[in-house]
Symmetry: C2
Subunit: 545 residues, 2 copies
C-alpha cells in the first residue's frame, strides 16, 4: 500500500486556494499510484485559524472544502484535517477532526482527543475532545487515525493529560498509525518530534506516518519534517524542512527499515532558514513584495536585511540610513558596505534637522529640563516616522529589527525602533544574533566584519554603549533564558551563580516592559518560548517588583 505524504503550505481562511492546492496534490499522488494521500491537521482552514472558528460561516466553508475533496476521492483515499461541527448541543460546538474520504464518501471522522492549550495553542477554546475512538479498514489494512497532540502525551515526564488515545485504539489491532499535524517549528522541535514519535512506535509496535504543515502563518512557522517511522523505531524517511513537498512511501517498507534517514538539525542553520521562510510567507500571503528596513550600521539591522534579501530578493529590499549627530563615523560606512555587499538600494535621510525642529517647538515646554531619555526617544520616533513614510508611499512593509534581549528588558523605543509589520529576530537573543551573523558570513563576508566586532550601541546620545545600561550580553542572555524559557524563580537563577541585585533588576525589567511588548509587531517564533501569543503576561501587575 502506497501512502502520499502531502506536506503543504496553505493560507489561513483562503478556502479556494487551499482546496485547489490539495486537489493538485491529489493529482500528483494519483500519478504516483498512491492508495492514500495524507494532508496535515486543519488543512482546509490553515493553522491556527483562531477565532475565525467562532464564525459558523467559516466552518461551513471548511465543510464545503471537504465536499470538494470527497469528489476527488474516487480512486484514492484522502486523509485530511478539518474542523467539524459537534452534533450534540452540550459542550463546545466544534471538533478538530481527521476525515477519511474514499470513493466519494466520508468513511470516518476521528476527532482529536488531546487539545493543546498552552504556549501558542488555544485548542480548548474551540474544540470538544473526542469521546469515541475507532479505526478505519482500508484495502485489508487497519489504520489508526489521530491528530497531532494525540501522540504527544507519551514519554513526557510531566504528562499534560490523563489519557492516551492510542490506548483506546490498540484493542482494534491497527496495522499502522496516520497522524495529521500542525506542529510548529522551534529550534528544539525536530529532534523532540522524532523522540516523541519513536516513543509511540516503541509503545505500540506499529509503523507511523506523520504529516505536518510547512510554511509561516504570521508569527508561527511550520517546518514540515514529516515522517515515516518503521515499526523498529527507525526513521525511514524525514521530509525536508521549510519546503512544500509530496513523498510517496510504501507502507510495507516500514516493517523493518535497515537504515535511518535524518536531516541535520544544527540550531543556527534551522533558525536562519525558518526566518527566511517567515519573511517570505508573511509577504507572499498578504500580497506584498517589497520591504524597507532602517539600517543603522549595527548588527541587528544588518542580519535582518540579509535575511530579507534572501527571502524576497535583493531588488525587493530597500534600506534607509538615518544618521544623526550622535552616529559614530563608522555607522554610515558599515551600513553602506552591507548594502553594497548585498546589491540593494539604500537612501539616506539625516534626522538632525527634523530633530532640531522638534526641540525648537518643544522648547517652551521643556525649558530648563535636561537632555534625557525623552530626546533619545524623539530621535528613534523620527526614524520610525520616516520608515513608515517610505512604507506608505511606496507600498513596502517595514521590517522590525529588534532582538530578543532588548525586547526582554525594554531597551527600545515604542513607535520608534520597535515599529514594523513583523519582527524578524525578536525571538533571537543578541548572542544568537552574533551566531547568525557568523553563519551568514561562513563562506564570505556579507555582513561587514566591523559591524560584528564593534561594541553595540543605540547611538542616541554621545558615546552611548549598550553596556552602559545592560550587563554583558552573555550574562544577560543566560539570565533571560532561565527566566523566560526556563520559568525559574529569582532564587533558582541566583543558585546558578548570578548576582542577586542583577537578577532582581533584570527580572523586574522584563516584567515592567510587558507594556512595550504588548504593542509591538508579531515576532517570528523560533524558540520554545517566544514573545506574543505564546507568552501571555499581565501588564498591570507587581510580581517580582
Amino acid at each position: 500500500m502506497k501512502i502520499a505524504l502531502a506536506q503543504i503550505n496553505v493560507i489561513i481562511g483562503d478556502f479556494a486556494y487551499n482546496t485547489r492546492k490539495m486537489l493538485s496534490y491529489i493529482d500528483k499522488a494519483r500519478k504516483q499510484q498512491a492508495d492514500i494521500i495524507v494532508f496535515p491537521e486543519l488543512a482546509t482552514t490553515g493553522y491556527p485559524p483562531r477565532d475565525f472558528l467562532e464564525f459558523s460561516d467559516f466552518v461551513e466553508k471548511a465543510e464545503n472544502s471537504i465536499e470538494q475533496l470527497k469528489k476527488a476521492s474516487q480512486d484514492i483515499a484522502i486523509v485530511v484535517g478539518s474542523p467539524t461541527f459537534n452534533p450534540v448541543i452540550e459542550g463546545k460546538d466544534l471538533y478538530n477532526s481527521v476525515v477519511f474520504l474514499y470513493r466519494g464518501e466520508e468513511i470516518y471522522r476521528q476527532h482529536k482527543t488531546l487539545l493543546p492549550t498552552y504556549d501558542i495553542f488555544d485548542e480548548a477554546r474551540y474544540f470538544e475532545a473526542a469521546s469515541r475512538w475507532n479505526i478505519v479498514e482500508f484495502k485489508g489494512k487497519k489504520i489508526a487515525l489521530n491528530v497531532c497532540e494525540d501522540l504527544w502525551n507519551l514519554g513526557n515526564e510531566n504528562p499534560l493529560y490523563t489519557i492516551n488515545p492510542m490506548d483506546k485504539l490498540m484493542p482494534y489491532q491497527p496495522d499502522f498509525i496516520i497522524n495529521v499535524s500542525a506542529s510548529p517549528f522551534d529550534y528544539t522541535h525536530a529532534r523532540e518530534r522524532i523522540r516523541v514519535l519513536k516513543q509511540n512506535v516503541k509503545q505500540y509496535q506499529i509503523p507511523l506516518i506523520y504529516v505536518n504543515h510547512v510554511g509561516a502563518q504570521t508569527d508561527i512557522i511550520f517546518d514540515g519534517g514529516s515522517l515515516a517511522l518503521g515499526a523498529n523505531q527507525k526513521v525511514y524517511k524525514e521530509l525536508p524542512y521549510f519546503e512544500e513537498t509530496l513523498e510517496v512511501i510504501d507502507i510495507n517498507e516500514l516493517q523493518n527499515p535497515l537504515r535511518e534517514q535524518q536531516q541535520p538539525k544544527e540550531k543556527i542553520a534551522l533558525i536562519h532558514d525558518a526566518l527566511v521562510l517567515g519573511i517570505k510567507d508573511y509577504f507572499g500571503k498578504i500580497g506584498f513584495q517589497t520591504a524597507v528596513i532602517g539600517l543603522s550600521g549595527g548588527l541587528d539591522s544588518a542580519v535582518t536585511t540579509v535575511l530579507a534579501a534572501k527571502a524576497l530578493g535583493k531588488d525587493k529590499v530597500r534600506v534607509l540610513l538615518m544618521p544623526s549627530q550622535f552616529s559614530s563615523e563608522h555607522s554610515v560606512k558599515d551600513a553602506v558596505d552591507l548594502a553594497n555587499n548585498l546589491g540593494i538600494r539604500y537612501d539616506m535621510v539625516p534626522i538632525q534637522h527634523i530633530f532640531e525642529t522638534y526641540l525648537d517647538q518643544l522648547n517652551p515646554l521643556f525649558e530648563g529640563k535636561k537632555f534625557d531619555v525623552t530626546e533619545e526617544n524623539i530621535q528613534a520616533r523620527i526614524r520610525g516616522n520616516l520608515l513608515m513614510a517610505i512604507s506608505n508611499k511606496f507600498g513596502n512593509i517595514l521590517l522590525n529589527t529588534s532582538n530578543k534581549s532588548e525586547m526582554s528588558v525594554g531597551y527600545g523605543t515604542l513607535y520608534g525602533d520597535l515599529a514594523g509589520g513583523i519582527s524578524v529576530i525578536a525571538d533571537v537573543y543578541k548572542t544568537e544574533v552574533y551566531d547568525l551573523a557568523r553563519y551568514i558570513n561562513r563562506k564570505h563576508e556579507i555582513i561587514p566584519v566591523h559591524t560584528i566586532q564593534k561594541p553595540p550601541s543605540a547611538e542616541l546620545r554621545p558615546n552611548q554603549k549598550d553596556s552602559d545600561s545592560l550587563p554583558d550580553y552573555d550574562i544577560l542572555d543566560t539570565i533571560l533564558k532561565l527566566y523566560i524559557e526556563g520559568r525559574q524563580s529569582p532564587q533558582e537563577i541566583m543558585a546558578s551563580g548570578y548576582d542577586k541585585t542583577l537578577v532582581n533588576r533584570i527580572l523586574k525589567l522584563v516584567n515592567r516592559n510587558e507594556f512595550k511588548r504588548y504593542q509591538t509587531a508579531p515576532v517570528l517564533r523560533v524558540s520554545p518560548k517566544a514573545f506574543g501569543m505564546g507568552r501571555r503576561m499581565p501588564i498591570v501587575a507587581k510580581y517580582l517588583e
Copy 2:
C-alpha cells in the same frame, strides 16, 4: 449565621498588598460578628494572573498567602479563591480552588470544575478540572462551595460543558451555596449574572452567596455587584458596582426575602463608571498619577479627557493641542473650551514646522509623488511623537482616544493617533461615544456642544470628513456589531437589509486591519466582545477578502 461578602480590589502578583488587604477585611468582618468571610476567586493572586501561573514560585507565594490567612481564621472562617498545586503527575499542574479555612486549619479545598476558555478566559491553559466534589459542614450548616463558571452552565441555550458541578453536590443536601467569582464587567453582564444565578436558585432551591472582584486589571474591569440571593429567587442584596466594599448578611434572612434590591443598570452610565475605574486603576496600580492626552477639538479626545479628569483629578491631566494647516478654525477653540470647562492645563505645539521639515528631508525620495495617505500619517505620527515626548519628559501616561468604530476599520495611524498606554474608549462605538458625551453633559455643558454637533474629521488634509471614506456611523456601527459581537456571516448581515458591496467592504476592512489592532494599547473592555485578548484573529489570512 453571618456571612461577610468582601468585594475587594487587588493587584495581580502583589501578594503582600493583597494579603494585607484581606487581613484588614477579616478584622472588619470580625468586628461585625461575621462567622464567615468570603473573598473572590484567585483573590491571593488577582485575576487574571495569566502566565505568571506557569512559575511555580508564583503559585508558592499564593500558597504562602493562604498560610497567613489560616492564622487569621481562629475565630472566623475564611473562604478564599487561590491557585493550588495538583498533587497528581498526570494532567495540568494546577487547580483553581476555593479554600475553606477555620481555627488555623484548612478544612477543605474545592477545585473549580468548569474552566472558562473563551473570550478573555484561558483557564484550560493552566488548570485541571475538578473530579471530586464535597460540601463543608460548619456550625451546623452544610455549604456547597464553587468557583464562578461552575454555576454558569445552567440556563444556557447552548451549554459549553457537559456537566453541572452542583448536581454532584446536591446529594449531600447543602443548605446554601457560596460562589467565589472573577466575572468581568461588560454592559450586559450585571443583568445576565442575576439571570444565571437565579436560574441556579430555581434549580437547587437554596440560597446563594456570590462574591465578585471589583477593580480594573489592565483591560479587564470587574464591577463587583456581589449578590445574596434568597431561596425564593429574590435578590436580597446586590453590592455596589465599581466600589470596594464589605457587606455582612445573615443567612437566615435569605430563606424568603420579601423584597428585591437591585441597582440601576443603564448601559451608558455603567460604561461611564467602568471607564473611570479603568483609568483610575491603570494609573494607581502601576504607580503613575498623571495623564497626557492629545486634544483635537473632536469628540473622542474630548470624552477621553473628561473621563481622565474624573478618574485622576483635574490637576493630574494635561492636554496638548497640535494644530496644523489642515485644522479647522473651530478645532483649537473647541479644545480650549473643553480644557477651560474642566479646569485642566493645556499647551499648544503647532506641527506645521515639523511637518514641513519632514517633507523637505523626504523631498529627494518623494519628488514627483502626490500628497497621499503618507503625508496624512506623517502628521499623525508627529503628534504621536510630541505626546510621547511630554509623557517621557514629565512622567505622564499617554491615553489613547481611538473609538471602536475606527479601530474596527483601521481608520487611524499606527504609532500616531493609535499610540498610548491604554485605550480608553476603543471598546465604545462612535454612536455610543455620542451617547457618552450627552451623558457627560446631562447636567450642564462640559463638552462643548460644537464638538458634539460638528461632523467628525481627522483633519489630515483640506476639508477632510470621516464621511468621505466611511458610511454614516449608525450604519457602520450596526454592521460592525453584527460582525464583531454577533459573529454573523456576510449573508446574515445582508439579510438584515444592508447593501452587499458595503457589507463586504466593511468586513474586509475589519479583517485586513488586524495588524493595526495587534500593535495598539490594551483596550478597556466594556462590551461582550472587545479587541484584545478576547478576540484573537490571524493577521496573515484571507477570510472574507
